[in-house]
């Protein structure tokens, strides 16, 4: 099942690659040139690992804090203000 409409163009791929690159922390320092596939993959993997570490750290800090939040109305107010912003 291979219709022309479902084929991915090189343009779409290039767009996807540059979108991914723009997310990576290294992208700010690099000039215009595009990285190799290997570099892109390495930096993406490193970035995902560092994001996972951040989530882990934030989970720890949140758990320490939430243990002390026992006032239900304060918590509800926080939730409401967050959902409003």
């Amino acid at each position: 099942m291979s219709s022309r409409r479902s084929r991915v163009s090189e343009e779409e791929i290039n767009e996807l690659i540059s979108k991914l690159q723009s997310l990576l922390p290294e992208a700010r320092r690099r000039g215009g040139g595009r990285a190799s596939a290997a570099k892109l993959l390495k930096e993406t993997c490193n970035y995902i690992r560092s994001l996972n570490r951040e989530v882990d750290d934030l989970s720890g800090r949140l758990s320490a804090l939430m243990a002390t939040v026992d006032n239900n109305s304060a918590e509800a107010e926080i939730i409401r203000s967050l959902l409003r912003s």
């Binding site: 084929r7 989970s59 304060a74």
Partner: protein, 201 residues
């Protein structure tokens, strides 16, 4: 590129629901257990807030592998659980795209490497092996993408990274809000009281 407002709301709702559901045994929970419960809630919240991607299904499936996690997930997600774990039918992107991705990416690496190729070894062969190795590493990091390649793999990865960033941002926001309210409580004036006093004026 940012996650949407509706993602934010769905994420926060699910995260807080998950935290409240596991709060029953909070007093008896160790810090490590509480941290794991929050991390689990955050991952479930992220997957369900996004929904409908290979990685969201992969993540929920991975998290459900443990029996006690599965019942917790069913509690948080309710009817969504069935939808999120339903097996995915094939992607409409044809596998031929793999060659296009490799070709367009390899052009760049060859331009940079062709002056320094080691004697007798083609730089493109080295580049390809390294790309394969790193692709495998990426597939271990992004849930649910083992069967994907080329465009589909990058597409899922991009979506996953955007969602991870949103997860981090939102948890940071939540943390900041809680910390601020703690400081407010310490100054002997709770949030609702302070708001009421403003209204009075």
């Amino acid at each position: 590129m940012q996650a949407t407002k509706s993602f934010e709301q769905a994420f926060l709702k699910h995260l807080l629901r998950g935290c409240r559901l596991s709060a029953v045994s909070y007093k008896s929970m160790s810090l490590q257990e509480r941290k794991s419960a929050i991390k689990l809630s955050a991952d479930v919240a992220m997957a369900s807030a996004r929904g409908g991607r290979k990685w969201t299904r992969g993540l929920i499936t991975k998290l459900s592998k443990e029996d006690e996690h599965r019942s917790f997930l069913q509690l948080i997600l309710g009817t969504e659980y069935g939808r999120l774990t339903k097996p995915c039918h094939g992607s409409w992107k044809i596998p031929r795209s793999k060659k296009i991705v490799r070709r367009s990416l390899r052009v760049c690496s060859r331009r940079k490497n062709n002056l320094r190729a080691p004697h007798g070894v083609k730089s493109s062969v080295l580049a390809r092996t390294l790309v394969e190795k790193r692709t495998h590493a990426l597939k271990r990091l992004v849930p649910g993408v083992e069967s994907l390649d080329g465009y589909s793999l990058l597409d899922e990865t991009l979506d996953y990274v955007i969602s991870l960033r949103a997860q981090v941002d939102l948890m940071q926001k939540l943390l900041t809000t809680f910390e601020a309210s703690k400081l407010g409580a310490l100054s002997k004036c709770t949030l609702p009281e302070r708001k009421a006093s403003f209204v009075g004026k």
